[in-house]
Symmetry: none
Subunit: 164 residues, 2 copies
DNA sequence: TATAATGAAGGTCAAGGAAAGTCAAAAACG
DNA sequence: CGTTTTTGACTTTCCTTGACCTTCATTATA
């Protein structure tokens, strides 16, 4: 039973995939009319699904002739997204947060399917297997260590300090 | 005299066997209604019966449109070569043991350099970051989970798409 | 021409509801 | 008696909606 947010997300991703440039412009009102929902539902989808962690950038303009522009990032590791990633992880991460993050990296081509699965397996509750306050802390350390190991191959030193 | 947990387990395994992809999505509330039990009973079954060690992966999402997703892994520890690996790992492994094992897998071409580094990063003492009796146990679980993930079903048509 | 009004976008936030998760105590089992 | 199962109270996460706010372009007006 795909939720409304899921359907909107899927639609936007399809449209985005159809573009040549990886840039899509839409009108919020059009979308909300198309899906029979309140306009702010669109904002919710954008805020939760098209985040920088998942490899997207969203710009917009208000007023007459306003628009929402969706962009797929080709290389999140290239800009300072990695540092934000590290800060985002912080001292503790839930399994869900980790999942979103890793899927985003996979989507933007930073990690392969196998690598993503590897990370997800290691950040799974049962794999860590310690009780909860501690578990999220262990997961955060694991995630940072693994991302850092990937990043060492990806680019030279200096960037990604926030992962440590 | 099959217990309630046994019956729920059997039902889920039957449903899972019926799928083409090895992926089953259910609603916790549906199940608990079907078996006339409290919802958390479902969690108990999932936690005790559908573990990674037994060759299952469980994902879920809360909130509206929430679900529980059960995935059967292709190569449960119970069957072949991985079984021996799993036994060799046992309940605890030191970082050194893990290192030897992973480098061996890399040399024999089972895992790539990047994947090996990923695994080693996750099994590093500082990454796990808990005191020693426990740390080796966590490392063993991590190692098993990660190796198992490498043998996951390459089910066509985007397994896990609903979560992304 | 400078400015004020207007309408047309999109943004924010918080409340409420809909799932699933957690934990520990009680019960049942062997 | 120790282990496994069952239960339920409480928590957390996620989705949906609606009331109200901010920004921009255009047009009317002094």
């Amino acid at each position: 039973m795909a939720s409304l947010a899921d359907r909107i997300e899927r639609y936007l991703r399809e449209q985005l995939a159809r573009t040549e440039t990886g840039v899509l412009e839409v009108q919020r009102a059009d979308l909300s009319a198309m899906f029979n929902c309140v306009p702010s539902q669109i904002n919710y989808v954008l805020a939760t699904r098209f985040t920088i962690e998942r490899g997207y950038l969203v710009e917009s303009r208000r007023g007459g002739g306003g628009f929402i522009r969706l962009m797929r990032l080709t290389c999140p590791f290239a800009c300072n997204a990695l540092d934000r990633l590290g800060q985002r992880i912080g001292e503790r991460v839930s399994q869900e947060q980790a999942g979103h993050l890793v899927r985003g990296l996979e989507e933007s081509g930073v990690v392969s399917r196998r690598e993503a699965d590897l990370i997800l397996a290691a950040t799974h509750r049962q794999a860590i297997g310690v009780p909860l306050p501690l578990r999220d802390a262990v997961r955060a350390r694991l995630l940072k260590a693994m991302l850092l190991s990937l990043f060492r191959h990806e680019a030279g030193g200096g960037v990604g300090d926030a992962l440590r």
